[in-house]
Symmetry: C2
Subunit: 207 residues, 2 copies
């Protein structure tokens, strides 16, 4: 189950969320075209993704939602759950902690970091905030494998380097500053302003 296309992995996460909603609404089975409608993609794509993860639906009945959620979980989650740190307790950092707190997933934020004395040694949604100086120490002590960088862009490269030397395995960079990591570390970058500029571009060119 290793070589899933990047895009399929993304969609699997989305499927799972939608499926969980459906489950909560009392449904037990779902058709490919229903999933497709929920996510605004095509049913072919849904079926293809499901094929790729080796799952099967039953004809004229669709896919068993519980089973799919379980299977996607097996593919994406680890048994023990993954331990995460948030570096930078500004708005975005807080938003992440808040989301994950409510969500009760296998992804747990177990530490946060900042340099602002008003934030250090407090807890936000059960997550303790340490001084940035203690980054390596805590990452290693708490066996944290994933870091979310939500600091001001200026300091992001340094934070990134420290995360890497502390032994982190994956980084989600929310600052607009592009980062560098060695091959064995997975890096995902996202920049809100680029998203917005993209919208602006297409709005402009639709007129």
């Amino acid at each position: 189950m290793k070589n899933l296309p990047d895009k399929t992995v993304e969609r699997l996460c989305q499927y799972r969320r939608s499926l969980n909603n459906q489950l909560a609404a009392g449904k037990t089975h779902i058709f490919s075209h229903e999933i497709a409608n929920l996510l605004h993609i095509t049913s072919v794509q849904v079926r293809r993704d499901i094929m790729l993860i080796g799952h099967s639906g039953t004809l004229r009945k669709g896919y068993d939602i519980k089973e799919m959620v379980k299977l996607i979980g097996k593919i994406i989650d680890t048994k023990e759950g993954q331990r995460i740190a948030v570096i930078g307790m500004g708005n975005i950092g807080k938003a992440f902690i808040h989301y994950l707190y409510e969500k009760r997933s296998k992804l747990k934020v177990v530490a946060s970091f900042d340099v602002n004395p008003d934030k250090i040694d407090k807890t936000y949604a059960d997550v303790y905030c340490y001084h940035l100086d203690r980054l390596k120490e805590i990452i290693q002590k708490e066996d944290i494998k994933i870091g979310i960088i939500t600091t001001p862009p200026m300091v992001a490269p340094e934070v990134c380097e420290n995360l890497v030397t502390a032994g982190i395995k994956g980084i989600l960079n929310f600052t607009p500053k592009p980062l560098s990591v060695p091959d064995e570390v997975y890096l995902e970058e996202y920049d809100m302003i680029t998203s917005l500029e993209k919208v602006a571009f297409f709005v402009k060119h639709n007129e």
Copy 2:
């Protein structure tokens, strides 16, 4: 200059930001491979993108940074600037307003909305917060063309519908709830948790 590939548009935004940084650092010209290194892509891709927008560099000297910034601006920005509303003044909403406030770009947040009385009728980074009930009225009065939805997921579809009937042209949806819009409205969706789960997946499968 209309039919640029989606991905090229994204990269142009990133080029511009990096180029502005270089400008601030005193550089006047830059090679394709330098841009590539800044953004962790290949120089071929940079040259190809630049070709697509009809710009030319000078051999052995590279691209004139100021010119490129200007050209990208012409492609992405509108002359008058674009007027934006943020709906939902939680952490993410605030983060957007804060970013754009500092950035002094052609994208201006001119109104925000919430239902929390503590937030309504206050201003945050010069942006006034209205009650959600006044959405249509203000959107139209203020000639707002782009909406950023950062509400709780539950209410996102309703907000979306109201934005559309108010005549908005582009929506950036930051809630995990997928939305539907008519063809003439551009919709960009982003979900932080999916990004994080993707990182988690690749971390798991690299071990």
